[in-house]
Symmetry: C2
Subunit: 624 residues, 2 copies
């Protein structure tokens, strides 16, 4: 088996390669086709004049920005930042009561791998999911309002990096961990790494009615790092795949020590089987979670050997194959689900690791694909003709190739060091084949310099001609680890929040506004409208809140301008308070009036010609 | 005098006008010129292909985002967000020790009115200043590194909205307040508004050597709202102007009550004279500040009557005139500095307000300019031919006109409701006359919908032809209250941070790395490099930090990859900690290890093919 593995670079060479940006050698690629399918210039292709709109939405992971960034394609214009894991003063996210509660104990996150909800393997335009590597959480965003509905702290996990994206009908998101820790992040010496540390894969489900995420069950995996993953579809529905590295179980200097063995594994798992095992009580309870331990609870989990330290693994749109990208090996490996199922059926195993049978590499490998001089394959996307597009981090290019033959069809250089790429609906069962965006880690000299640290870069590639062509470079907010592109007509965002007469905090008319005192709590039921705040219409000064030093102040504010795009903001001078009320929306913000004084209140969102006049006062009477 | 004032809309009409977006009537404007100066299509004009770079930088105020947004012009690509007043997890701003200290007690701000430092009235490309309306601060950003160097809490002030931009040689920034409060924000009933509340103008200076902002002196102004402002230049050097509204001193419902009187004022002041008064001891000390009270310390301050509730006031590039924009009046008023100086010399006053002489309107007014059907003039920019460009908020258009004749030269509709606009170096002594960007408050249907709240919008206008032409619409992060455009070749950002051997926290070689315990404080002197952390090279596991529960942990981290754009991040799982080290930079982050356990450390910025392997552990030994 070992002989068949692609020879990987030595540890030393890896160090050199990793610290240098290589450029592809294109001497073997033919001249640019003159038969372009379009007579438009590149400038015209990406230009969306006023009155027209982009064809696609791009949802890009913000990485350590913690947010989701929404762009239009092909114009690559950044339309909106949707706050998810990090505070966002632009929208008051993290200051208003309910967003503060959503964020829990955290002020930021590291958003990886966004994924649209799917029905029959198609993006259904309803929800968007994402994980937080930094603080081990998962989030769901509603695509009607572009706001986060729930954030789940995933117990027993540390760094759910490789969100599975979702299964074919959004049955599950699988969240295996990049870091191994003891259960509950308990203290344990690294000398006991192999016995006490675990990787944990969480099967997370979304309750659409309650708009809540929850952990259904977990699998205790060996203390390896789990990297990227994908769900089966069609013939592989019910299955999923995850890449691993550091199967060496190194506890220090992973750069060298996790790159020693010639092979790591892909974890291949039958989630329908695992689900059944849990239903049958085949689990142990750990910190309140149902956890499958493969050594005790056998079945459903298999290992497929793969060239060392793979990064991405991607299932082809027809669900027949999964493609591992070598990262340190120069090749992609195409594996067959059909062959894997047959091997499992036949018990064609070379051994077992931590209770998981290891399938023979030769039995499941379909082909190894090694484009000449291409280095550092990371991730693969697909078009409508079955072609695969793989990013080459080290040789800085996109390679288009045919998974059924292994033939290299086309190559195009990108600037520089692409991580993921994303094609229009390119990981669904029916990719559109229209655009590919290379998500580059290094921009360097691509744009005007903004100091020692440059933005990441997105490059739009036109797939409509015979040859791929990079037609636009756009800087991007840090850091697009992955993105998805959805047809614009699949989304139907609401225009204003509808009236909700059942909401006890909402006030829709001036005569309902009031300030109520309950002990030392003061509740304000106010409205924001062009161009004033009305906290109590009956008061001498309806836009003034007067409280006593030490009072808890709870301000409920409803925006009664039921007009698209008429958003009001709310801030109190020198109070570090900030919230936004979108048209029709009711929001609440609470604070303790712990300093006596006179503090202006004002609208932070320019809302009318008299916006500057949209002010009031908070008066806090001294307690002595 | 009253007769000469432009008749303003009644209070009732104001309400209607303010809540409706009007569109300009262009029946009086001639057909579009066929003689374009360029044969390029609009798409080609804004397209900057890879390998070429934008001609200008745009620095846009982020408003309640709290940040500065940097764009390239003409591509309108967003290159970078520079955090100023709000936390920014993308860069660790607000988590690392020194950025947390910069932010003080606040987590966010409302950034208004950015201003480049100037030498002889030209942008000199060295510094950028801005104010925080929410929490009454001022900040300075260094244009070599695109980072904030100092943030000043401005005492005695509430909402320094109308930053003066800077004087001709960056002698001062003047920060008058939008909100009136008692000194020190003390508690006082609104019934005592006229006697106890003040507007305060702060004269802020920047010490370039120490990279520190400081308040030199303040002026106690009447309890009015101060809106926009500008500094004199050339013949008006040493002078400055500020618009006011609510000279009615209304204390509630300003939408109606601050729009009652037919006129408000422009405060015209001689800052050289005020400086001299302070030197002569003509001030009182209030909360540690030197404060001029005009009723006691006479001189240097004058009032110019102007049509009700003006918004912007802009000095022409030649320094001869200042132009007030009506907001509620349909007109711009051109005032002459020369006439003002003569009136002051002659004592040509109609009375006095709060110790400030009121100059006769007729004596200083040069002309009233009232373009047909134009409504809601807010702000004015200039080109290289002396032409003025004024945004019309209500009629949603830009009007080009000649300040020396009052003639309307051209008009172009914008979508929708422009606040400020900004021309290439358009408020300096030598505008470039190349591009004008309309900063629109409402985008509505301009882009793909992202729910009830849409982004603001920027529209790029080509000034090179006979007629203005909107050639690109770009969504923009909230909220561009103002922006400045600087020629790209005026900036020279550094490529990497230079070694600083005098920095006791910096470590540039592996053998200097160490972990030192001082009582219950643990100091880590570590390095980040592709692709590992080394906290103590001599340890068995150099990338592990082991401490005791309750220890204070101080991590100093130096990025020793002296390569442009190779930035590393630092985060600890489940610790809500996050910082960034740019190439060559040393940063420090401190925390108390208050929970025992095992917590992975990792690099958050994808930095090499082995970035995923750039990890370590924080082990916190339980105390019992």
């Amino acid at each position: 088996m070992k002989k068949k593995l692609i020879p990987a670079l030595s540890g030393l060479l890896v160090g050199i390669v990793a610290s240098t940006v290589f450029f592809a050698d294109y001497t073997n690629v033919g001249p640019k086709s003159v038969a372009d399918t379009s007579t438009k210039s590149n400038a015209e292709k990406v230009y969306v004049p006023f009155g027209e709109q982009d064809e696609y939405y791009l949802f890009a992971s913000g990485g350590h920005s913690g947010q989701m960034f929404i762009y239009g394609v092909p114009s690559m214009r950044h339309i909106r930042t949707v706050p998810v894991f990090s505070q966002d003063s632009a929208t008051g996210y993290g200051w208003s009561d309910h967003t503060k509660e959503l964020m829990g104990d955290y002020t930021w996150g590291d958003l990886h791998h966004p994924a649209f909800s799917e029905t029959k393997g198609e993006y259904d335009g309803k929800w968007m999911f994402a994980t937080d590597v930094a603080n081990s959480r998962a989030a769901v965003m509603d695509l009607e309002t572009f706001t986060v509905k729930d954030i789940l702290d995933v117990p027993n996990t540390s760094g759910p990096h490789c969100a599975m994206f979702v299964t074919e009908n959004t049955e599950y998101m699988f969240l295996p961990t990049r870091f191994a820790v003891p259960f509950g992040s308990e203290y344990a010496s690294l000398d006991e790494y192999s016995s006490k540390y675990y990787g944990v894969m969480s099967a997370v489900q979304f309750n659409e009615e309650k708009e809540e995420l929850g952990v259904s069950w977990q699998v205790a995996l060996p203390p390896w790092s789990y990297d990227l993953s994908d769900a089966g579809k069609g013939p592989s529905h019910g299955w999923a795949v995850v890449t691993t590295y550091n199967t060496e179980e190194a506890t220090t200097n992973l750069e060298i020590n996790a790159s020693q063995a010639d092979r790591d594994y892909i974890v291949l798992f039958n989630w329908k089987e695992l689900e059944k095992m849990v239903a049958d009580g085949q689990y142990e309870e750990v910190n309140g979670q149902k956890v499958i331990f493969p050594e005790k609870h056998k079945g459903g989990l298999y290992l497929v050997p793969v060239a060392k330290s793979p990064h991405g693994v991607d299932v082809t749109p027809d669900g027949k194959y999964f493609i591992a990208s070598g990262k340190l090996a120069p090749a992609m490996t195409v594996f067959s689900f059909e062959k894997a199922f047959a091997a499992i059926e036949a018990g064609d195993f070379s051994g077992e690791k931590y209770g998981m049978p290891v399938i023979n590499y030769e039995s499941v490998m379909e082909r190894e694909v090694n484009p000449e001089n291409a280095l550092g394959p990371l991730h693969t996307q697909f078009d409508d003709k079955g072609m695969a597009y793989t990013t080459m981090f080290i040789s800085s290019e996109i390679v288009k190739w045919d998974p059924t033959t292994g033939e290299t069809v086309d190559r195009v250089p990108v600037q520089y060091s692409p991580g993921h790429s994303v094609a229009a609906e390119g990981d669904s069962v029916s990719p559109d084949g229209k655009w590919l965006i290379s998500l580059n880690k290094i921009a360097k000299d691509s744009y005007l310099s903004v100091g020692p640290s440059h933005p990441e870069s997105m490059q739009l590639i036109d797939l409509s001609g015979d040859k791929m062509e990079v037609i636009l470079s756009a800087p991007v907010n840090p850091e697009p680890h992955y993105a998805q592109i959805i047809k614009a007509d699949k989304l139907s965002p609401i225009e204003v929040y509808p009236k909700d007469e059942t909401n006890p905090d909402a006030v829709y008319s001036q005569d309902q506004t009031r300030i109520e005192r309950k002990g030392n709590e003061v509740h304000v039921y106010g409205i924001a409208m062009r161009s004033k705040f009305i906290f109590d219409a009956k008061a001498e000064r309806p836009d003034v809140i007067e409280v006593n030093e030490g009072d808890k102040v709870v301000i409920h504010l409803t925006n009664i301008d039921f007009d698209e795009d008429i958003t009001h903001g709310f801030a109190i001078n020198r109070h570090d308070l900030n919230m936004e009320v979108q048209p029709g929306q009711t929001e609440t913000i609470s604070f303790t009036a712990d300093k006596a004084g006179t503090f202006p209140i004002y609208c932070t969102n320019f809302c009318s010609a008299l916006h500057q006049e949209m002010t009031g006062y908070l008066l806090v009477k001294p307690s002595n």
